[in-house]
């Protein structure tokens, strides 16, 4: 299994698009931190003296990395079908479930890297921005909880992405569906109809990372633990579907 995971990581490293997407994501993380740090006269419920300020600003920066890691996960399979490399992958390891597990493990490791890179950029930047706007930087329990939650949420999005790519082998359809869902559908449903939206992956992830105030849904999201369980359930269902359907399919 270690060899298969190393091979999956090598595939990601060998494609230039991986690095470019990560760099683009970090640029967007920078912009998000700048945009989500409130000013003295902003009308946000989050104020510059809020003890949760640092946690919320940094947590808000994970919107784009969540899309990135789900995208990496999805393309881990769809790229193989697009370029025909899945044939050699399955010839090298014909027990396909092991390929699935290797991709999940590899993407989980990549999620740790992306999360660490995001935090390494977002935390100091958020501190600088808050101080620049005369706010108070408070590193409390919520901050550490957000840090821990970010690793878990990113890993779960990686797992969901891999499962999606295994189920929908056409790259254009899979990636389009993922982006439309994560960037449009959820961002419309969650704020406008919280009773439903809080059960969606974005609502659940926001609950785990305690970002209610940043998306204007104070008290309307699930408790953090329940949010985590809901997100894990999405990952488990997607995984079960992928494991049930994909290994049986012919590779033509």
């Amino acid at each position: 299994m270690t060899a298969l995971v190393r091979a999956e990581l090598l595939k990601l490293r060998s494609a230039r698009i991986t690095t470019w997407l990560l760099l683009a994501t970090l640029v967007l993380v920078t912009l998000t931190v700048v945009a989500s740090t409130p000013t003295v006269d902003s009308e946000s419920s989050l104020t510059l003296v809020d003890p949760a300020l640092l946690a919320v600003v940094v947590g808000s920066a994970f919107g784009v990395p969540q899309v990135l890691i789900a995208l990496y996960g999805t393309t881990a399979f769809t790229q193989e079908f697009r370029y025909g490399t899945i044939t050699q992958t399955y010839l090298g390891e014909p027990r396909r479930t092991r390929i699935f597990m290797a991709k999940w493990l590899a993407l989980a490791l990549v999620s740790v890297v992306v999360t660490t890179a995001t935090l390494a950029l977002a935390v100091p930047l958020a501190i600088v921005m808050i101080q620049y706007r005369d706010g108070e930087v408070s590193v409390g329990a919520q901050f550490w909880q957000m840090i821990a939650a970010s690793f878990g949420v990113m890993a779960l999005y990686a797992v969901i992405g891999v499962a999606l790519g295994a189920l929908i082998r056409n790259q254009i359809i899979a990636v389009s569906a993922l982006l439309v869902w994560m960037l449009a559908v959820e961002w419309i449903v969650v704020p406008s109809y919280p009773p439903v939206g809080r059960w969606l992956p974005l609502g659940a992830a926001s609950a785990v990372m305690q970002l209610e105030s940043s998306i204007g849904l104070d008290g309307k999201l699930l408790p953090a633990v329940l949010g985590g369980l809901v997100l894990a359930a999405y990952a488990a269902v997607a995984t079960a579907l992928a494991l049930r359907a994909a290994p049986q399919r012919d590779v033509l």
Binding site: R6, K11, S14, G84, L91, P94, Q248
Partner: protein, 301 residues
Amino acid sequence: MTTAIELNGLTKTYGDLLAVDAVSAIVLPGKVTALLGPNGAGKTTTLRMLLGLVAPSSGTATFGGRRYVELMDPVRRVGAQLEASGCHPGWTALDYLRILTTASRLPAEAPKRVLEETGLAEAARRRVGEFSLGMRQRLGLAAAMLGDPGVLVLDEPTNGLDPPGVRWLREYVRRLADEGRTVLLSSHALSEVELIADDVLVLARGRLIRSAKLATMRAEAGVGSRVRTPDPTALCAALEAAGLVSRWAEDELIVDAPPEEVGELCAKHGIVLHALAGTAGLEQAFFRLIDESPEEEVALS
């Protein structure tokens, strides 16, 4: 190094379409066995079932008695180059082979060895997107040889190769078989197969219609001719009047008679010829088999 391939009643249906119909054959070590058939005959599907990429509807395909999925370290036992397999255009040849080497826990020097064997050493760090079709074929073969396997399965390996490349492939595959490896290759390039194969399996409409040594098929076929004319109607009429059997292959007529006889017949009838050549025995036999295979018995509904 002495693993035989055995196909036993291998069958594949897609809905109502019977793509491969109860194919049974044995491919022996130390020989090059060609799987022949026109497009759509079921060659690729048969190879993919053999390699566990397509699930058979019934029947089995084994290497030394084990299905591909049951092989320990399959890449060290069986090397395969399939038509639709590819490579990410952004990877270099070396990237690609290193990924396969890593996944299968092969020695780190394996990519360098196969790149040299396949004449790609100088292109090792070039991106595959810049490769010609012939170079991609060589890279596919390099990937197949990474584990130094005792069995080689090649799907249309001469596609895209230039004449020197075809010659190189011929010699390479011959050497592998002479080393005692089992080589099964599919092809529709009959002239190439004649120069390389020891045994022949002929598929038509999903069925195995002949399994024989190449020499046997040649001897049975006799000598034929391929003819090209601007007046095919007159030629066909003359051939029919003379009782000679013929059939079309693209823009040429294949005749079951030696070129001398066909040439004299055409001269007698004043028919202009643009080309007249003797056909290899395999080609003659192949077309005869395809023509004689009972179309109505094949369940293509």
